[in-house]
């Protein structure tokens, strides 16, 4: 007999059982689907698909009643932490509160039901949305134009590198190296490889900033450019950015800005003004389009004037019109690198981001940065006696602590601290990143968390540190539906589908 979909014992409200998979709930003969009455002639399948193309047997998906479908996924939702449940201070991820009005925008039938191949004349509202967003992002980044196609930050990075390449090639060059600081996010070097470049890593100095000497040492005319986030992944502002940009430009390289940390500097300083030529923006971080448990996001790439001609196409553009009314169309730049998305990018994510920008406005976005940085510095200061601050200088929107000393003293690693914090009712900070800090704990409170929440978070981390001292951290978390999971076992046994389970 199939498992019961009516037992709520897997919902933490009442129990701690496992939730059966939908395949275990499945029972032949059950179904949920209902399709519209169409009155289309009911030609038999045999007449529609020739035998040589016909599937032998239907795909055994699962067979459940709508009631059990609802029970199953509702219970699963109760086994999932989310911003809406509580703070989510994951460093580098910017898990801020996402205003619900953006959900309402994304659900508008006038936006959500438009086919991507609809002719421009029938999609003027969408084109207007994209053009408005592009303009706003360019203003925020200090750039001339942008492509909205990339579906996430990493896609933006690769797009940026291909732009670098196109720029190189247009000059008849074939540079081979891209410079990345050792604190960079892993997507940066991975993208460099896919862009056909080699990564040259430049180390950070004792300030946690790019070591200028080390940088100068690796710069030559084989360098296509440098990728940097600023503030960097240590949460520190690269003060020498003007000089860095000057040096890179001097050898003919381009400056690439990884926008994952733009939240810290909205309205304060712009990548373009710092000397960057290419900028990607993580809309799902800075512009509060919810992360969806792993996506979708959007990673538009904005560029300085001299790179506009290489942008992916087709691009949404405002057309000249005689009557003064706005008209929009598509245009592909002459020397475009081509498409980087099957259609126009993650359009509904883009619409959310525009709503977010409109509701905040210039002043509101500046406040976002201020409060994000205020919160991070408060946490930094408050916890500086509990954990070691990785670098002894004020941070921007996030702060990296090291649990290395605690680890040595008590045996409890950053990982253990994270698991202990779960029991305190908080999602843990990022652990084990950036790689250059031992036992890193990277806290990004974001601007939407209140002072009280910061205090509660700090107190919770203090209690966890105390528990580490007592040696009682190891069994944590004890209050969650499952306890500490064996990651190594997962890789060793590799069961990635229900069918591989037996």
């Amino acid at each position: 007999m199939a498992a019961s979909g009516g037992r709520a014992s897997s919902a933490p409200l009442v129990g701690r059982d496992n939730e059966p998979t939908i395949f275990e709930l499945s029972r032949p003969g059950r179904a949920s689907w209902q399709l519209p009455t169409t009155k289309v002639p009911e030609t038999p399948l045999e007449a529609l698909v020739a035998p040589e193309h016909r599937r032998a047997a239907p795909v055994d998906v699962a067979e459940v009643s709508e009631r059990d479908l609802v029970g199953h996924f509702t219970r699963l939702s109760h086994r999932q932490y989310s911003v809406d449940l509580g703070a989510y201070p994951l460093g580098s991820c910017t898990m801020k509160y996402n205003p619900k009005v953006c959900d309402a925008v994304a659900a508008l039938p006038g936006l959500a039901s438009v086919h991507p191949a609809a002719p421009a004349a029938l999609a003027q509202g969408w084109l207007a949305t994209l053009v408005a967003l592009e303009a706003a992002l360019c203003e925020l980044a200090g750039m001339a134009a942008a492509t909205l196609q990339p579906a996430a930050g990493a896609a933006g990075e690769l797009t940026g590198l291909l732009l670098m390449r196109a720029h190189d090639e247009a000059r008849g060059e074939r540079r081979r190296r891209v410079i990345i600081p050792d604190s960079a996010h892993g997507t940066n070097p991975a993208s460099v490889t896919l862009g056909g470049y080699e990564t040259t890593t430049v180390r950070s100095d004792e300030r946690g900033l790019v070591d200028l000497e080390a940088l100068r040492a690796v710069l030559d005319t084989d360098v296509a450019g440098m990728m940097l986030t600023n503030p960097n992944t240590l949460g520190l502002f690269e003060e020498d950015i003007a000089e860095i940009a000057r040096c890179v430009h001097e050898v003919g390289g381009l400056m690439y800005y990884d926008g994952a940390n733009l939240n810290a500097i909205l309205g304060v300083v712009r990548p373009g003004d710092m000397g960057f030529d290419i900028v990607h923006l993580n809309l799902h971080k800075t512009f509060a389009t919810p992360h969806g448990g792993g996506g979708p996001g959007a990673g538009p790439v904005a560029v300085a004037e001299h790179l506009v001609e290489f942008l992916p196409g087709p691009r949404p553009v405002r057309l000249d019109s005689e009557d003064g009314e706005a008209r929009y169309g598509w245009h592909t730049p002459e020397r475009s690198i081509g498409r980087v998305h099957g259609w126009h990018g993650n359009a509904l994510v883009l619409a959310r981001a525009l709503a977010y920008i409109e509701v905040h406005g210039a002043d509101g976005l500046h406040k976002v940065a201020e409060r994000a940085v205020l919160n991070a510095n408060w946490i930094r200061e408050r916890l500086s006696s509990t954990f070691d601050v990785a670098f002894d200088r004020p941070c921007m929107h996030e702060v990296v602590f090291s649990a290395a000393a605690l680890h040595k003293r008590t045996g409890a690693s950053a990982h253990d601290v994270a698991k202990g914090l779960i029991e305190e009712g908080f999602h843990p900070p990022t652990v084990a990143f950036p790689l250059i800090v031992e036992d890193a704990l990277m806290v990004e409170p974001t601007e939407t968390e209140s002072y009280e929440t910061l205090v509660a978070l700090a107190e919770a981390l203090e209690r966890v540190a105390a528990r580490a001292q007592e040696g009682t951290l190891e069994g944590s978390p004890r209050t969650t539906p499952v306890r500490r999971v064996d990651e190594a076992r997962a890789a060793r046994t590799l069961v990635a589908t229900f069918d591989a389970r037996r």
């Binding site: 609809a118 460099v192 069918d499």
Partner: protein, 456 residues
């Protein structure tokens, strides 16, 4: 007017005091004054929520296509998405979660993705399915990267039956990886593999099933070429059609990719969609993107976790199998819910109804004066291409006046002037028509009548 920031004046004063700062501005002392924005952003002031919602609704109203009966496809389809799927996939726990870095508090999302992987694996017949990629096009790029990585050969034969925009994306990214992409032309709607018999150094062969013109091709020749050359067969498969036609695995595909939008995601002007990626077990260590696996917790209880992370960029950095980090998890979860709702019988039913509608529509349309089938007698499934007396873009414009989004102009897909196998005339006059299970007989009859009128 309030905003989303909780800081009261007292909070700010307290916090600055604690930090020994005199103003919020001092927080940015590390930013060189010379670089700072002197005069603020050149953006308007913030608007209250209802105004912003009103604006967005106004933009929505300016999308004429939203009100039309949709016969457009080309990889994006107007399928039924029931309220129950929207309600479940829209639960805030799923929507506002991050990537499951802490599995103890992410079992819900992880299990849903595990179920998605299982469903996709069953659909495509391959044992491994990842947790999603950006879209069908990006999945194809990753498939080719995987194939080249496995075979260490950079030659890639791509059927011109693969969606033209996906091929374009493939070309774009090949500029970085250096793959040699060679297109294999279509003849009468099917790939003419004989045209590339002499090519060597081939690591991957890519075909589509059905191809973008809706035709079901015999993939035997492609598989044989792969066997002869030790190349991998990568299939771009329509996941709805897959419910009733042979699976990628059944054709011998090593990798199968697809666009998962038809499983619960609205048309959304093209995104966010869902890149589907499946492969044979041999290649799992080269798999791009995330993978959820099963394990045990400290108490021996079954648990889920992202696994084989050593492939990923946060660990392997420049040696990673792919740079994909954030993917389209919510769409994968949505697909799991939608597939759960459809179930075994519903999935087959949807596919069959699409095929029925397409057949009914095609039969009626080819009877119209000024309409010819574009792919000859080749069997098509849920979508088909016609050659119209008029330029297709013009026909679409006129059909819109009658209330229909009558299809997709081939021109718009392949670019003016056609591509390879599709001559300029065929591209200009080619119309791709898709019929989903949502289209009623009345709607189809209406479109047919409208087309007849338009072509007169």
């Amino acid at each position: 007017m309030p905003d989303y920031l909780p800081h009261t004046h007292e909070d700010i004063a307290d916090m600055l005091g604690f930090l020994g700062l005199g103003s919020l501005d001092e927080l940015f002392d590390a930013v060189p004054a010379a670089l700072r924005l002197a005069s603020g952003l050149g953006l308007p002031e913030g608007l209250p929520e209802p105004d912003v919602l009103g604006r967005a609704a106004g933009r929505g109203a300016a999308n004429g296509a939203a009100g039309l009966v949709c016969f457009a496809g080309a990889g994006a389809y107007d399928h039924e998405v029931p309220p129950v799927v929207r309600a479940l996939a829209g639960r805030s726990e799923f929507v506002t979660a991050y990537t499951p870095y802490q599995p103890e508090v992410a079992q819900g999302g992880l299990q849903a993705i595990f179920e998605f992987q299982t469903m996709l694996s069953r659909l495509f017949g391959l044992p491994i399915a990842n947790a999603s990629l950006y879209d069908g096009a990006s999945a194809l790029v990753e498939a080719v990267n995987l194939g080249v990585g496995v075979t260490k050969r950079g030659g890639v034969l791509v059927s011109a039956g693969v969606h033209p925009q996906w091929r374009a994306v493939l070309r774009t990214f090949a500029a970085g990886t250096g793959h040699r992409i060679m297109e294999v032309p279509l003849r009468e709607g099917v790939t003419d593999w004989s045209a590339v018999e002499k090519e060597s150094g081939i690591g991957v062969i890519v075909a589509a099933y059905p191809n973008y013109l809706g035709c079901l091709e015999d993939l035997g020749p492609a598989r044989r070429m792969c066997d002869e050359r030790g190349a991998l067969l990568a299939l771009a498969a329509d996941p709805v059609a897959a419910a009733i036609v042979r699976s990628p695995a059944n054709w011998g595909a090593d990798v199968a990719v697809g666009e998962g939008q038809p499983f619960g995601t609205p048309l959304s002007f093209g995104g966010p969609y869902l890149g589907l990626f499946c492969c044979a077990a041999d290649h799992v260590r080269r798999l791009p993107g995330r993978l959820v696996g099963e394990t045990l917790d400290a108490d021996g209880r079954l648990a889920y976790v992202t696994t084989l992370r050593a492939r990923e960029q946060d660990i392997r950095r420049e040696k990673a199998t792919s740079n994909v980090c954030t993917n389209q998890t919510l769409m994968a979860l949505t697909a799991a819910v939608q597939l759960g709702w459809l179930g075994t019988s519903g999935l087959a039913e949807v596919a069959t109804r699409c095929a029925r509608g397409a057949r009914y529509c095609r039969d009626a349309m080819v009877g119209i004066d000024g309409v010819e089938p574009l792919s000859g007698a080749t069997p098509t499934l849920r979508e088909f291409a016609l050659h119209l007396r008029l330029p297709a873009e013009l026909a679409i414009e006129r059909l819109a006046e009658e209330g229909y989004l009558g299809g997709v102009a081939l021109d718009a897909l392949v670019g003016e002037g056609g591509d390879g196998s599709l001559g300029a005339d065929a591209a200009r006059h080619g119309l791709l028509v898709a019929v989903t299970e949502r289209r009623t007989r009345d709607e189809i009859d209406g479109l047919v009548a409208a087309l007849d009128k338009v072509l007169r």
